[in-house]
Amino acid sequence: MDPVLSVRHLTKRFAGLTALSDVSFDLGRGEILGLIGPNGAGKTTLVNLISGAFRASEGVLLFEGAPIGALASHRRAKLGIGRTFQIMRPFPGLSVLDNVAVGALFGTGGGHRQLAIARELAHQKLAFVGLAHRADRPAEALGGPDRKRLELAKALAMNPRLLLLDEVMAGLNLAELEAVFTIIRKVRDEGVSVLVIEHVMKAIRSLSDRLLVLHHGEKIAEGEPQQVLSDPTVVEAYLGRRRAPHEGAGT
């Protein structure tokens, strides 16, 4: 099957610091790919490159077979790439409903022109993520977990074909995690491809079809969750090399 997203030799340098180095992978239709790695591994940089917030220094990005590396963010959104932000970015001056309506008014294919239709759609998405009862509150009044749901609803309202989720599960308790899982799986079942960044290891293991591990900006492993998580290189990246006792002193 043709991949929805193809990443080839993607590299991003920030004035001497290489945040992402020669990363390649494919994401299939309806696939959930988990992106993991220690802090500073380059996960968010990768999402920013795909969504268009940053331009790559080198490499090729193909979305549904077409190169998108030179397109501005809004053009990529129009093609069908939706994202959430790790540092949540609601539109604080708007109600929860109107926040989501922005996604429906723009988003894939330019979205809906009619405000009434967009708000109706926003209502459906809010019900889908379990926020319908907060629709009329100002977005800034929402607490942490609800903000995560709002981010998700905003991205979903764009009706994306590729969804980039940057830590939508951080800080959620077990029950909330389960709820978000169910939402992401439902979205996937509708044929949306999902790239999900997550720190909660248990969460990512059960959710993802495949895992991709980044470390110091490089891809160190890719494959089935179980196999990847037992890979010695991955374990080492996360836990550090076990030092011999005589090397330990003074470090």
Binding site: S51, G52, A53, A72, S73, H74, A77, K78, G82, R83, F85, R89, P90, F91, P92, G93, L94, D98, A101, V102, G103, L105, F106, G107, T108, G110, G111, H112, R113, L115, A118, K154, M158
Partner: protein, 316 residues
């Protein structure tokens, strides 16, 4: 403004406003023209400053371009006022679109400072051109008809307010608000931020230029310093912020209330009027930071607690 009662109230207020020049004294009509032009200017600033979140100090430049465009067309080319006004507006819109593309990349203070510089540059340019009458300015043909200018200004306020009302309930407006609230997130959701900002700036420029053209013909005299006066731009901002930036009627209410207060103060206690005016604005910002429009909307629910809530919410 969905409630029919509110609509009827607005229509009634409009009829009363339109009827004023036929019954009031000439000095009140003149006060009215100034007040209405300020309301229109504030409404124009509201589009770029209130809805899009870009604090423009360039609107007085568009006002000046509208004044000079109208004056030059009438004096040098002997065109009728209407065509002169249209020409001045086109010049301002083209100017806004061209410069907007470049300077709307700047955010926050940088955008404000850059537009501030624009006004100084325009004053210098206009002071040195033959066609604009250099430092001495231009004298327009005299038209005695304060009633006409009053109704024209009122019409401009109505048109500007209708445009803003459309913006508030349209896809375009939601795009602008998204830009104001979080530009990066807006782009990620598919808002063509550059195009939207340039459109908002141009629309804002058109309204400012129309006000400038009307004012020039009414006053019959313009010079570089008064046409490109930064003070006028500051007034637009004060009035909009006082009334409620990013609301439909706020800038108009702000212009009416502040013009009224300023008029009373300057006639009653002329020497310290400026001081009192400043105090009014400080008190307004502390107790009703979202402006008169928000006060009217929420006073029913909160009553006097409204002011206390605002002080607490902003940790003042």
């Amino acid at each position: 403004m969905k409630r029919p009662l509110a609509r009827a109230g607005l229509a009634a207020a409009l009829v009363v406003l339109a009827g004023v020049p036929w019954i009031a004294s000439p000095s009140i009509v003149q006060f009215g023209i100034n007040m209405l032009l300020l309301a229109a200017l504030a409404q124009g600033w509201n589009i770029i400053g209130g809805y899009t979140g870009y604090a423009s100090f360039g609107n007085s430049v568009f006002y000046g371009l509208g004044s000079y465009g109208t004056a030059i067309a009438m004096l040098r080319w002997h065109l009728p006022f209407g065509i002169g006004l249209a020409l001045g507006t086109v010049v301002a819109v083209v100017f806004a679109a061209l410069f907007g593309r470049a300077i709307l990349r700047l955010r926050g203070h940088y955008f404000a400072i850059c537009t501030l510089g624009l006004a100084e540059v325009m004053t210098a340019i206009v002071s040195n051109l033959e066609i604009t009458g250099r430092n001495t300015g231009l004298v327009l043909p005299l038209l005695r008809g304060d009633v006409l200018f009053y109704e024209l200004s009122l019409a401009l306020v109505v048109v500007a307010t209708l445009i803003v009302a459309w913006i508030a309930h349209s896809r375009f407006g939601y795009g602008l608000i998204a830009i104001r609230e979080n530009e990066e997130a807006a782009a990620a959701m598919g808002v063509d931020t550059t195009r939207y900002k340039v459109l908002a700036f141009s629309l804002s420029a058109a309204i400012s230029a129309l006000a400038g053209g009307i004012h020039a013909y009414w006053i019959t005299f313009i010079d570089p310093v008064s046409a490109f006066d930064i003070g006028l731009n500051v007034k637009m901002i004060i009035v909009t912020v006082f009334g409620g930036p990013g609301s439909i009627l706020g800038p108009v209410l702000g212009a009416f209330v502040l013009s009224g207060i300023s008029e009373v103060l300057s006639t009653e206690i002329s020497t310290v009027a400026g001081l009192f005016f400043g105090a009014v604005i400080v008190v307004a910002v502390v107790f009703m930071p979202r402006g008169v429009a928000d006060l009217i909307r929420r006073f029913d629910k909160y009553r006097w607690r409204y002011f206390a809530e605002n002080v607490r919410a902003n940790r003042l």
